[in-house]
Symmetry: C2
Subunit: 401 residues, 2 copies
């Protein structure tokens, strides 16, 4: 697929993250007006609420709402129809007057009301590396890891949009003479992609991997901030809890499945056959470069295609017990790490558990310090265009003892 040329000139630059091929959805506001749905094009945002008010597009009035949940609930046929219509309206040569807003004038909000949030653990490099640090090399990869996408329920209330400051948590950690109550000393990021679920499933029913794929509306960048010292003390046997509840940052733009379709590819080599309920008829990952920065310096770079399980497999597994899924559910991919040190999606891995500092703008770091800003980035490179995700950043505020 080549670049689709847009009437918005800035969208036609080869390095623009938001060409006409992309059309990611978000929620924005300008100068105090009510938040509403929009789509990114070049350095502009198309005001979808205004478009609907003018009769340019039809989404049953859902674009005037401050979250995309109601639009998603209209179903895939409507997602496709609206995308086709927006492609038409924004194409080079199209003439209708459009309510476009400069991105620089807009404030971005959480694009969805997060219904529930689940985080998975699907990069073999990450699972192995972290397993070694928490449990030693002989127990590093849990025995079921190659048979099922392991995940845990996270806390939806702590999901925030890119740019929201994150407070360093206080917490219980293991001490010499019993547990201590301290500001987290091992604060970390996790580089992830979040899948946004756009359809419900019924309680007591399972969905296949194909059905699951059709339920996914799109993807956001996701940073699952992690307090490693709190995690080490609390996580056995019921899993991470407060160590993962200090905040999860997502990008403001949901990149749709349709935009990523040209980049579909297979993931990591399978180590053993999967049970039939996890079979994929076609590859479920994307050739998508991702990375992260600390205070502006690129620290790690990897690719989404290192993952062992796709979001569709994770979603299918999530319903395997009959668990009902709902519009607005968010599924974290798990930390995305390649095999090399400079491909790690978390400081825990990159520094070998804090033993081997990295250098950031000349200063040593093992974990995140107060005032540090972490940013995630991702892009799929097409022929003469790219699909970007926009920023996913957060700066750390000091703990409140």
């Amino acid at each position: 697929m080549a670049l689709l040329r847009s009437r918005v000139e800035s969208a036609n630059r080869p390095d623009c993250p938001f060409p006409l091929n992309n059309l990611p959805y978000g929620v924005f506001s300008v100068s105090g007006a009510a938040p509403r749905c929009g789509v990114a094009i070049g350095d502009m945002i198309l005001d979808l609420a205004e478009c609907e008010a003018c009769g340019l597009v039809d989404a049953d009035g859902t674009f005037a709402q401050p979250a995309l949940n109601s639009f998603m609930a209209l179903g895939r046929a409507r997602w496709d129809a609206v995308r086709a219509r927006l492609t038409e309206l924004l194409a080079e040569g199209a003439t209708p007057d459009l309510p476009l807003v400069a991105m620089s004038d807009a404030q971005m909000h959480l694009p969805i009301r997060v219904t529930e949030y689940t985080d998975f653990y699907a990069s073999k490099n990450h699972a192995f590396n972290v397993g070694v640090l928490f449990r030693g090399p002989e127990n590093a990869l849990p025995p079921q890891w190659t048979h099922m996408p392991i995940g845990y329920n996270g806390r939806a209330s702590s999901v925030v949009v890119s740019g929201t400051p994150i407070r360093r948590p206080m917490g219980q950690v293991r001490g010499e003479a019993g547990p201590e109550w301290v500001p987290c000393r091992r604060l970390d990021l996790e580089l992830e992609l979040g899948a946004v679920v756009g359809a419900d499933s019924e309680m007591g029913s399972r969905v296949s991997v194909e059905q699951a794929e059709a339920m996914i509306f799109g993807y956001v960048l996701l940073n699952d901030w992690s307090a490693r010292d709190i995690q080490a003390w609390e996580y056995q046997p019921l899993g991470p809890f407060q160590s993962k509840a200090l905040g999860t940052t997502i990008g403001a733009w949901i990149v749709t499945q349709a935009a990523l379709e040209p980049f579909r590819c297979a993931g990591a080599e399978r180590l053993n056959p999967l049970l039939p309920y996890l079979h994929e008829r076609r590859p479920g990952l994307y050739d998508l470069e991702l990375g992260w920065t600390m205070n502006g310096q690129v620290m790690g770079r990897t690719n989404y295609n290192v993952m062992y399980y796709s979001s569709a497999q994770q979603l299918a597994h999530h319903t395997s017990s009959g668990c009902p899924m709902r519009v607005g559910d968010l599924l974290g991919s798990g930390t995305i790490s390649g095999p090399g040190r400079d491909q790690a999606g978390a400081l825990l891995e990159m520094t070998g558990g804090g033993k081997a500092p990295v250098t950031v703008n000349g200063a040593p770091r093992t974990f995140i310090e107060d005032g540090d800003e972490i940013g995630l980035f991702a892009q799929a490179q097409g022929a003469g265009y790219r699909i970007g995700f926009g920023p996913c950043t957060g700066r750390i505020l000091p703990a409140q003892p």
Copy 2:
């Protein structure tokens, strides 16, 4: 405190679960009308939406909604004012005409929209007994267990109201030659009390145990159905996931903190001092008899006062990282088990991991079979009255392979 006599004669019987002292809230409907809020009194339900429409009580119109979330969000001062007004209206000798509905004519619904659901692990007997079965006696009680209320995020979408059938899940279990995909063979119940959170907390802030207590609106019976074979294979290292997502049943009636106040008591003896953020100024448990039945036969009986952590301590811990809490959050106490076999709140414990069957109406059981019905019950015994919770039942449907 003695029985408060009501104009509803059935509420004055000493064995009535819903005397004027109780006034639990629920959501009901009659003959196809829209679900609305009500309060139980004797064998009747007072239609609170109608009461508001007639000007008998003032809750900003929230009682016409099909969930108590908006009423709870009005805050504790309003909870108290409405309770005082209802006590007046329903007292013996009160004369205003009241919209009362026979409980037998009403269908009950989920009393709240469950925002998020967290399940704890706060009975030492249960934690130890289950720990022995999953990890052996030497690792039975996790080292942090006496220092913090361990919990994990559950799945809110799978919480259903008493009477809803529960489908036996399919799932991955450990097999001789690798994992197998089978109907759950070790289906279990968990006898719990659920605390309903009635106020928000701010992200990045912590709440004290006292503040936490003031945020709790009331309590429901809660059965956290558990697939033990799926759990054993999946739960390390990120905790239980699909084994706990097949369904969680709660009772239809929320018993308020106010109703339970006369039964306040201390819990289990503390084995070591707690960190200051978990200190309680006054005892946070209740002298509340609980138990469960299988196909009508009483199987286990225990008391809520065996618990090691109160719901207020659990809620305070839940915010320790700055995790924001929201109106409608549900906190499971963890399985409530006394030390004896006939005090166990789960079959896993009662049967020693399935090795020692129990007899139910003459038939042996290790775990739950298709068609079995599990019921929970609870009551606090006052002088001449009792505070009941109503039923919390579920019958098991066969798996769908």
